[in-house]
Symmetry: C2
Subunit: 323 residues, 2 copies
C-alpha cells in the first residue's frame, strides 16, 4: 500500500497534530549539557531515553495513531535494521495490533531479541532484498498487512518532528541542530518543525565516513548510490538517499557533517564518562560532529537519536585506548 502524501508535503501543522497524539504516551526527553575539554558546551537531546531506546517510537506511534481500526485489521509491517522495528512493535503492542518486521540478515542479535520481546514477528532477508522494500514500499509475503514506511511517510516524519518543537522550547537560543542522517525522516521532520518559526536555524544531517550517501548526493546534486563499509554503526549509513526524500532533503537541510568512525567511538566513550548514557553509533554521530564543529556553528543541539548498542561492542569501545 503506497502512501498518498509525498514526504516534501510535510508541514508544521502535521508535527503539531503528532504532538497531541504522543502527549502522555512517550517521554518528554530532557536536554542536558556536555562540557567539552575545549570549554565549548553542547546541548544533547536524549532520545535514547524513549521506550525502546530510540526516537523511532515517536514516528511509529504517530503513524499508527493515524490509521483506522479497519486499516489495521490485518496488522502492520515495516522494514528495519532494528530501531524502527522496535518502535513499531512497541506501538502495535500498545494498540493491540499484530506486527511483522523485515530485517537484513546481518541485523544484530540484540536488536532481534528486543523485537521479539515486544511480540513482533521477524522475516530475515538478504540486504539488497531488504533495501528493496524501501523503494517499492511493499513486501508481498506480508500483505494484506498494512505497510508503514520507516522514513518517507509523512506521519512518521511528523512524529519525529516533535523533537524539533521540544528543542525550540528547551533551547530558544539554538542556532544549529545536528541530526544523525539515515533516511532523512528524522532530520527533515525536525527541520520542518523548526523552519516554520525559526527559518534561520541550520539543521545538518550527520554521517559516518564508512557510508555517507547524503554527502555524496549533495556533492553530485542528485541522489546517488555509494559504496558502504558495514560497521557497528547500523542506524545510519544506507546505500543511497531515497528518490522521494531528495526534495525535502534539498529544501530543509543545511548540509552533511561527516565524521570518521574513530571519532564516533570517541564520542560514545565521552558520553559514558561525562553524561552516563550509552549512545549507539548513529546516536553518537551527531555528538562527534558537534565536537568537531563546536565554535563555528553557534549554539549547537545534538540529537542523540538512540541507545541500542550491543553490550559487547560497548565493552570493546570502552577498552580501546583513547588517543
Amino acid at each position: 500500500m503506497v502512501n498518498t502524501r509525498l514526504p516534501d508535503s510535510i508541514a508544521v501543522a502535521d508535527v503539531e497534530a503528532a504532538r497531541g497524539r504522543l502527549a502522555g504516551v512517550l517521554t518528554r526527553t530532557p536536554m542536558i549539557r556536555l562540557e567539552t575539554d575545549s570549554g565549548a558546551e553542547l546541548l544533547l537531546k536524549l532520545e535514547l531515553l524513549q521506550p525502546v531506546r530510540s526516537f523511532k517510537v515517536r514516528g511509529a506511534y504517530n503513524a499508527l495513531s493515524m490509521l483506522s481500526d479497519a486499516e489495521l485489521a490485518h496488522g502492520v509491517y515495516t522494514a528495519s535494521a532494528g530501531n524502527m522495528a522496535q518502535g513499531l512493535a512497541w506501538s502495535a503492542r500498545r494498540r493491540g495490533v499484530r506486527c511483522s518486521v523485515v530485517v537484513p540478515d546481518n541485523a544484530p542479535a540484540t536488536k532481534l531479541d528486543g523485537i521479539r520481546r515486544l511480540g513482533a514477528e521477524i522475516v530475515k532477508v538478504p540486504y539488497d532484498d531488504w533495501w528493496a522494500v524501501f523503494t517499492t514500499h511493499r513486501f508481498g509475503g506480508l500483505e494484506p498487512a498494512r505497510f508503514v514506511h520507516p522514513v518517507s511517510d509523512v506521519g512518521m516524519m511528523a512524529g519525529n518532528g516533535t523533537i524539533g518543537l521540544e528543542i525550540l522550547e528547551d533551547a530558544p537560543d539554538v542556532s544549529a541542530v545536528l541530526v544523525p542522517f539515515g533516511g532523512g525522516g528524522l532530520s527533515c521532520g525536525i527541520a520542518a518543525a523548526i523552519r516554520a518559526s525559526r527559518p534561520e536555524v541550520q539543521v545538518f544531517g550527520c554521517e559516518v565516513d564508512t557510508a555517507a550517501p547524503l554527502a555524496a548526493s549533495i556533492a553530485a546534486g542528485r541522489p546517488v548510490e555509494v559504496d558502504r563499509t558495514p560497521t557497528f554503526v547500523d542506524g545510519i549509513g544506507g546505500k543511497a538517499v531515497l528518490e522521494e526524500m531528495w526534495p525535502p532533503v534539498k529544501r530543509l537541510l543545511a548540509g552533511s557533517l561527516v565524521s570518521p568512525l574513530s571519532e564516533v567511538e570517541a564520542a560514545i566513550r565521552l558520553l559514558v564518562a561525562r553524561c552516563a548514557v550509552v549512545a549507539e553509533g548513529a546516536g553518537a554521530a551527531s555528538v562527534a560532529a558537534g565536537l568537531r564543529h563546536a565554535g563555528s556553528l553557534g549554539r549547537i543541539v545534538c540529537v542523540v537519536s538512540g541507545g541500542n548498542l550491543d553490550p559487547s561492542v560497548l565493552a570493546r569501545i570502552l577498552s580501546t585506548q583513547q588517543t
Copy 2:
C-alpha cells in the same frame, strides 16, 4: 563550623524552599519505565542525568545558596568519595567560590579527575581520617573555609528532597520509593518531602551486602559499626549510620533492602541493555532491590542516584557472563 539545625528537624517547607533555589539551574530529571522479564514495571528516577552525573548537586547547590557572601569569603570544603565533591565543586564554580575536598586515599582516579576538572583542590587522607570528618564536622587544615557536611546538613537534605516532590508529580500512584542508602541524606530528604502529603508511601534505604550499616543498625535498634568489604560500589556502604542521622532514619524510613553484589552488577547490565544509561554501583542498588521486590511493594520508583562508574569497571561488568 557546626550546623545549627539537627537533621531530624527537616520539614517539607525546607524542601519547597530548596526547589525554588534549584529551578532553572539543575535538570528536572525524567522518570522512565524499565520493563522486566517477569512483566513487572519499575519506574526509574534518573538522577544520573544531573550535571556531574549525581543527585548530590541538588543538595550541594541548595546548601551553598543558603550561605551569605561573608560566610563564603574563605571558600568551602567537604569530605567525599567523589560525587558530593563534584556536586559541591560544580556549585562553587557557578557561585565563584573556592572549593576543597577531603578524599579517602582509595578514591577512584576517574572521580578525582572530575573534581579537578571542576576547579576544586584535593586533600587525600587515610580512610579512617576521612570518616572522622563526618563525625567531627571539621578538618582543621582547611579552616577557616566553611565546612559543608555531605549528609547531615538540613540544606543538603532539603536539596536532595526535591527529588521526592518530582516523584509525586510524575508518579502520583507510587507506593514505594527505593533509595540508595549512603549516609541517609538522600533517603531521609526524599522521605521528608513525601511524608507531608503522602504518609502511606514507603521509603526504603537500599544497600549492598558487602557493607550494610543501615540493616545492621535497624537489627540492633541503634546505630552500629559494621565490617565492610571495599568494592567498586563506593557511593554507599559506609562503616556506620551517623549518630545524628539515626533519629530521622528511624522516623522516616520503612527499612533496608540489601542486595548481593552480583545483583547490583546484573542491574547495571540491565540498565545499559534496556535503558541505555550507565548507573554506578550505588545508583543500581535501588534497581537491584526493585527487581527482587517487584510485585510485593506495589508501584515502585527506584532512584538511580548517580552514574559515575569507572569505564574499565563498566567494561568488566558488561563482559561478565549473565547467569
